[in-house]
């Protein structure tokens, strides 16, 4: 027998009034995987992401992380299961320095003895922000703030990392660096990345799950998915027709 999947959802649904934002989704991610979630606006991927992080409670179905149901768990308890989460808009301790931000993460997960050392390594080697270590987070550029948050998540040394649109608002070299960073992180942690930007997906993705109308449309490797007719249809069709992103 192999280990149970790191994340597993069974018949997961959440309904907001009459709207079936996520409907009977069966989904799993194993150790070391890098999974991208895509889909048109309103497909339910962000809502699904929030179900995984415990922000929304499911109407029915279960989410298991590391074999353990997260029903009723608080955010911090989910974090303690070894899940690192990066939200869409960078969420940092704005008035604290980069070092302090990352130290707080290392301190929680590795104790005070190791915290400084881990924080230093993450800052200088892994996210490459050494020269900003003592800069207040609020003073950094948007891209830098995204990387700091990646660093914060990294310093947890989680088994699983959930990233919500890590490349949002980035262009060119910033996006390049982010993609590199994600690949590097993936060497030690499994990842689920919700992303809009097809260009970015092409750079990082291995397996892709496509959402549409709250359900899983296709799940396959990136080239197959991109070649799939149905995916093109929902993507192009929906892009024009529907303007609201229900999940976000």
């Amino acid at each position: 027998m192999t280990n149970p999947p790191l994340v597993e959802t069974r018949e997961l649904s959440v309904h907001f009034g009459g709207l079936k934002a996520v409907n009977h989704v069966n989904f799993s991610v194993c150790d070391g995987e890098l999974r991208c979630l895509i889909g048109p606006n309103g497909a339910g991927k962000t809502t699904f992401f929030r179900l995984l992080t415990g922000v929304h409670a499911p109407t029915s179905g279960t989410v298991k992380i590391n074999g353990r149901s997260i029903a009723g768990l608080q955010t911090h308890q989910i974090a303690k299961l070894g899940v690192g989460i990066k939200t869409q808009i960078p969420s940092l301790f704005d008035n604290l320095s980069v070092h302090e931000n990352i130290w707080l993460s290392a301190r929680r997960n590795h104790g005070r003895a190791a915290a400084n050392q881990i924080a230093d390594r993450v800052i200088t080697e892994e996210v490459g922000l050494g020269e900003y270590a003592n800069t207040e987070a609020s003073k950094l550029s948007h891209g830098q703030r995204q990387w700091v948050e990646l660093g914060v998540v990294l310093a947890q040394r989680p088994k699983l990392i959930l990233l919500d649109e890590p490349a949002a608002g980035m262009t060119g070299s910033d996006m390049e660096k982010t993609a590199e960073l994600i690949k590097r992180i993936n060497r030690s942690s499994a990842m689920i990345v919700v992303e809009h930007d097809m260009e970015f997906i092409k750079r990082i993705a291995k397996t892709v799950t496509v959402f549409n109308r709250g359900e899983v449309l296709v799940e396959s490797d990136v080239d197959t998915v991109l070649a799939d007719e149905r995916v093109r249809e929902v993507y192009l069709g929906k892009r024009m027709g529907q303007r609201h992103d229900i999940g976000a």
């Binding site: 911090h76 940092l92 301790f93 704005d94 301190r107 003073k139």
Partner: protein
């Protein structure tokens, strides 16, 4: 900003307190000592809110509840037991326990923001109403009638633990109050500099992020709240000692407002600021009492409006900024200091 890890402020506090205790009784008359005593006691109260609001991010509109509970607990304990050591402990334990219960209700119910303000305000009004309606002879704890609106008079002075007959003189109460102020200041400074303190500040900065890292924000807020409540209770005990009375006025909305004003005027997010704010405002209130020409409310209200509009950070941070010449790099400088490391590079860059 997370507190600095240098210990000069602590050394300064020790020296200031020791010299105050040694020198002032020699040069001031009894009246001035009593005045200084009340300033020191209320400064302890100011520190307790400075901690939970400025560092814990919890703005309670009913902070006076803990102060009042401390005063009443001490009064009831001291009159019942005769010896005051247990009463002194009670004055911290009971407000602390109440803070734990209230904090559990608030933080584990995920109540924050104006809703927290509304509930704490309501709680203090309930205490005020209940305490005010205990004037009947049936309301007594042990042999102490609660006294309703009139409160409890003739509260015994603290005695040296184990020596019921050695009650504190004016000078000794002064020394005790100043020492308490210094100790509370030092204790809070150490706490803020500790890992616990850094986490508390981080939760204030971004609660969601802290939770995502696995910190149970509710727990940290609760502990912060309990510490603040216990310190406020201690201030209440000293207050009951100073005046020898306590009345429901300690629970009044005005008392809670006053504490907030001290902190706002001095500077939220500092410890020295609220102490200075407290002393300034108290001194002003006192001076106005002898003037009889200008209405006190007029002045206090004016000060609060002007401070919020003109000095939104409060006196101490504003003065500190002016003293540093308002160079923008100084904020970075402060950030650097926060980590105890130096990085001249980042200064140059920003």
């Amino acid at each position: 900003m997370i507190g600095s890890r240098n210990y000069w402020p602590i050394a300064a506090a020790v020296i200031a307190a020791l010299s105050a205790i040694v020198v002032l009784p020699a040069i001031y008359d009894e009246y001035s000592l009593l005045q200084l005593t009340i300033y020191a006691i209320l400064s302890v109260l100011a520190l307790s809110l400075a901690f939970i609001w400025g560092y814990g991010g919890i703005l309670s509109f009913g902070h006076a509840v803990f102060f009042g509970l401390g005063a009443y607990s001490y009064a009831i304990g001291a009159i019942n037991f005769g010896e005051t050591t247990i009463a002194l402990l009670l004055s911290m334990v009971i407000p602390g326990l109440f803070a734990a219960a209230l904090g559990y209700f608030l933080f584990y119910g995920r109540i924050s923001d104006v809703y927290l303000g509304a509930i704490t305000l309501t709680v203090t009004l309930i205490f005020f109403n209940l305490a005010s309606s205990t004037s009947g002879p049936e309301y007594r704890v042990g042999r102490v009638p609660l006294g309703g609106f009139n409160g409890i008079p003739s509260i015994p002075q603290l005695n040296v633990p184990g020596f019921p007959d050695w009650t504190l003189s004016t000078t000794e109460l002064f020394a005790l109050s100043v020492a308490t102020l210094a100790l509370v200041y030092i204790g809070l400074r150490l706490l803020i500099n500790s890992d616990f303190g850094r986490i508390v500040v981080a939760i204030k900065e971004n609660e969601v992020r802290a939770e995502l890292l696995g910190y149970d924000a509710r727990k940290y807020k609760l502990v912060t709240f309990v510490i603040g409540g216990a310190i406020a209770g201690l201030a209440g005990c000293l207050f009951a000692n100073w005046g020898g009375f306590t009345s429901p006025a300690v629970f009044a909305l005005g008392q809670s407002v006053q504490i907030i004003i001290w902190v706002v005027v001095g500077g939220v997010g500092t410890l020295a600021g609220p102490v200075i704010g407290c002393v300034l405002i108290q001194w002003l209130t006192n001076s106005l009492a002898s003037l009889n020409t200008v209405n006190n409310n007029l002045i206090m209200g004016g000060i609060l409006v002007v401070v919020v509009l003109m000095l939104p950070q409060g006196l101490v941070p504003t003065i500190a900024r002016l003293a540093r010449g308002r160079r923008p790099v100084q904020r970075l400088d402060a950030a650097t200091k926060g980590l105890g490391g130096a990085s001249t590079k980042s200064e140059a860059r920003a």
